[in-house]
C-alpha cells in the first residue's frame, strides 16, 4: 500500500516538474520540447506492455496455463490504451509544431501500425470461441506481429526522412530518440519519468491481471454450483 502512495506522489512531482523545470533553449522547439516528459514515456510504456504481452503469450504456448493468457491480454490492453494516448498527444503536439495533425512521418506510421496490430489482435480474439484455441492463436499472432515491429521502429525511420529526432538526415545522428543533446535537468527528469511510467505499468498490470483471474475463478465457481 505504502509504495502505491509513494508512486502517486512521485508521478505527481514529475508531472508538476514537467511543466516548470528549466530545460534550456532548444532551437525550433523551445518550450514545446516539454512533451518529451509525458509523450515518450507513454510510448515506452506501451512498447514494454506489448513486449510483456508477447512474453506471456510465448509462456502460454509452453505451459498451456490459462492464467498466462489472461496476463498476456491484460498487458496488451494496457499497451493499447497507452499507444492510443501516445498517438493522441503526439498528434495534438504535431498540429502546433509541424503544422498538421498527421504527417505520415515514419514514427507516426509505426505507432499507427502498432494500433492496427493490436486492434487486429483483439478482433481475432473475439472471433474465436474456444478459450484454449483463442489463447494459442492470439499468442502466435502476437509473436508474428512482434517480429515485424523492429522493421518499423529501427529500420524504416532510418532510411526514410522524417520529423522526429533520430530520422534520416538528422544532424544529431540517426540513433534512438534520447541520444540528441539534452540539458542535464531535462535528461534527469526524462529518465525519472521513464522509471515512473514503468512502475505505473507494473501496478496497473498487476491490478488488471489479478482482477481478470479472480473473475475467471468466480465464473468457474458459479458454473460448478449450477452443475451441482
Amino acid at each position: 500500500m505504502l509504495w502505491k502512495i509513494l508512486l502517486g506522489l512521485y508521478i505527481a512531482i514529475i508531472t508538476a516538474l514537467a511543466f516548470v523545470i528549466p530545460i534550456g533553449f532548444i532551437p525550433g522547439l523551445g518550450e514545446r520540447a516539454r512533451i518529451i516528459f509525458l509523450h515518450v514515456p507513454s510510448a515506452w510504456l506501451s512498447v514494454i506492455a506489448f513486449f510483456v504481452s508477447m512474453l506471456y503469450g510465448i509462456r502460454y504456448l509452453r505451459s498451456k496455463n490459462i492464467y498466462d493468457d489472461i496476463k498476456s491480454v491484460s498487458s496488451a490492453e494496457i499497451g493499447f490504451l497507452f499507444c492510443f494516448i501516445t498517438t493522441v498527444t503526439g498528434s495534438i503536439w504535431a498540429k502546433f509544431n509541424w503544422g498538421s495533425f498527421w504527417n505520415w512521418d515514419p514514427r507516426e506510421t509505426s505507432i499507427f501500425v502498432l494500433l492496427l496490430i493490436y486492434g487486429a489482435y483483439f478482433v481475432l480474439r473475439s472471433a474465436i470461441e474456444v478459450e484454449e484455441r483463442k489463447a494459442t492463436l492470439s499468442a502466435v499472432y502476437s509473436v508474428i506481429a512482434f517480429v515485424t515491429v523492429p522493421f518499423f521502429i529501427f529500420i524504416m525511420p532510418r532510411i526514410m526522412p522524417g520529423l522526429h529526432p533520430g530520422s534520416k538526415g538528422d544532424p544529431e545522428g540517426a540513433g534512438p530518440v534520447v541520444t540528441f543533446k539534452m540539458d542535464p535537468n531535462m535528461r534527469i527528469l526524462f529518465f525519472a519519468s521513464l522509471l515512473g511510467f514503468t512502475l505505473v505499468y507494473l501496478w496497473i498490470f498487476n491490478l488488471r491481471s489479478k482482477s481478470e483471474i479472480l473473475k475467471l475463478k468466480i465464473e468457474n465457481k458459479i458454473y460448478q454450483e449450477v452443475q451441482n
Partner: protein, 221 residues
C-alpha cells in the same frame, strides 16, 4: 523431408487444378479490380508513381482473396486430421508455403501483364529493379500470409479477418515494395535500392523462421 514437402505441394496443386476454384476466382478478381481502376481514372492523367502504388493495392487484395484457400479448404473438407496423421507439421507448412509461392508468382505475372497492357502511363524504366522488387515482394507477401492463413482457418469469420490480420504484418513489406516500384519507374539503378533489397530479404527470412517455429502450435490446435 524435401520429398514430403514436394508431395504436399503436388497434392495442393492437383486438388486446385481439379476444381480451379481459387484460380478462376482470382482471375476474375484481378480483372474486376483493374477495370475498377480504369473506370475511376477514365479521362484523367494518372502519374506513374500513383499507378505503382495502385499496382500493390491490386496485388495485396488479390493475394488476400486467394492465399488463405490452402488452409481454409483443409478445414472445410475436414482433411486436417488426415494430414496431421500423415506427416509432420513443418512439412505441411513448407508444402503450403511452396504452393502459395507458386500461386503468388502466377498471380503477379498475370497482374503485371494486365497492368502493362491497360495502363498507358505505367512505363517501367529499369525493368530489372522492377522485376526483383516484384519477386522478393511476392515471396514476402506469401510467407506472411501463409502463417496468417493457418491462424484464420481456425477462426469463425475467415473471410473478413484475413486482410485485417495480414495488413499490419505486411505493411513494412508493402511500403518497401511500393517505394521500390516507384524508384524503378523513375529509372533507379540497383545500387540505389540496396537498402530496399536488404529489408525485403530480411523480412522474408524473419517471417519464415518465426512461422516455422510457431506452426506446430497452430497446427495441433
Amino acid at each position: 523431408m524435401l520429398s514430403s514437402i514436394w508431395a504436399i505441394f503436388l497434392k495442393d496443386l492437383k486438388s486446385e487444378l481439379r476444381t480451379r476454384y481459387a484460380l478462376n476466382a482470382l482471375f476474375m478478381f484481378v480483372v474486376v479490380t483493374i477495370s475498377m481502376i480504369l473506370f475511376s481514372t477514365a479521362g484523367e492523367v494518372v502519374s506513374g508513381t500513383l499507378l505503382s502504388g495502385l499496382l500493390w493495392v491490386v496485388i495485396f487484395f488479390s493475394a488476400m482473396s486467394g492465399l488463405s484457400r490452402t488452409f481454409v479448404s483443409e478445414e472445410d473438407r475436414g482433411t486436417v486430421i488426415f494430414l496431421q496423421l500423415a506427416t509432420r507439421p513443418s512439412v505441411v507448412y513448407f508444402g503450403k508455403l511452396l504452393f502459395n509461392f507458386a500461386l503468388i508468382f502466377g498471380l503477379n505475372l498475370f497482374i503485371v501483364i494486365a497492368y502493362l497492357l491497360t495502363m498507358e502511363n505505367f512505363k517501367v524504366k529499369s525493368f530489372d529493379v522492377f522485376l526483383v522488387g516484384l519477386i522478393l515482394g511476392g515471396i514476402g507477401l506469401a510467407s506472411a500470409s501463409t502463417i496468417i492463413a493457418a491462424i484464420i482457418a481456425k477462426a469463425n469469420t475467415k473471410g473478413t479477418l484475413y486482410p485485417v490480420l495480414s495488413f499490419p504484418v505486411l505493411l513494412p513489406l508493402l511500403m518497401t515494395t511500393i517505394n521500390m516500384t516507384q524508384l524503378s519507374i523513375e529509372g533507379a539503378t540497383f545500387s540505389e535500392t540496396i537498402g530496399h533489397l536488404r529489408i525485403l530479404i530480411s523480412y522474408s527470412a524473419v517471417v519464415i523462421i518465426a512461422s516455422y517455429l510457431l506452426f506446430d502450435y497452430i497446427w495441433k490446435e
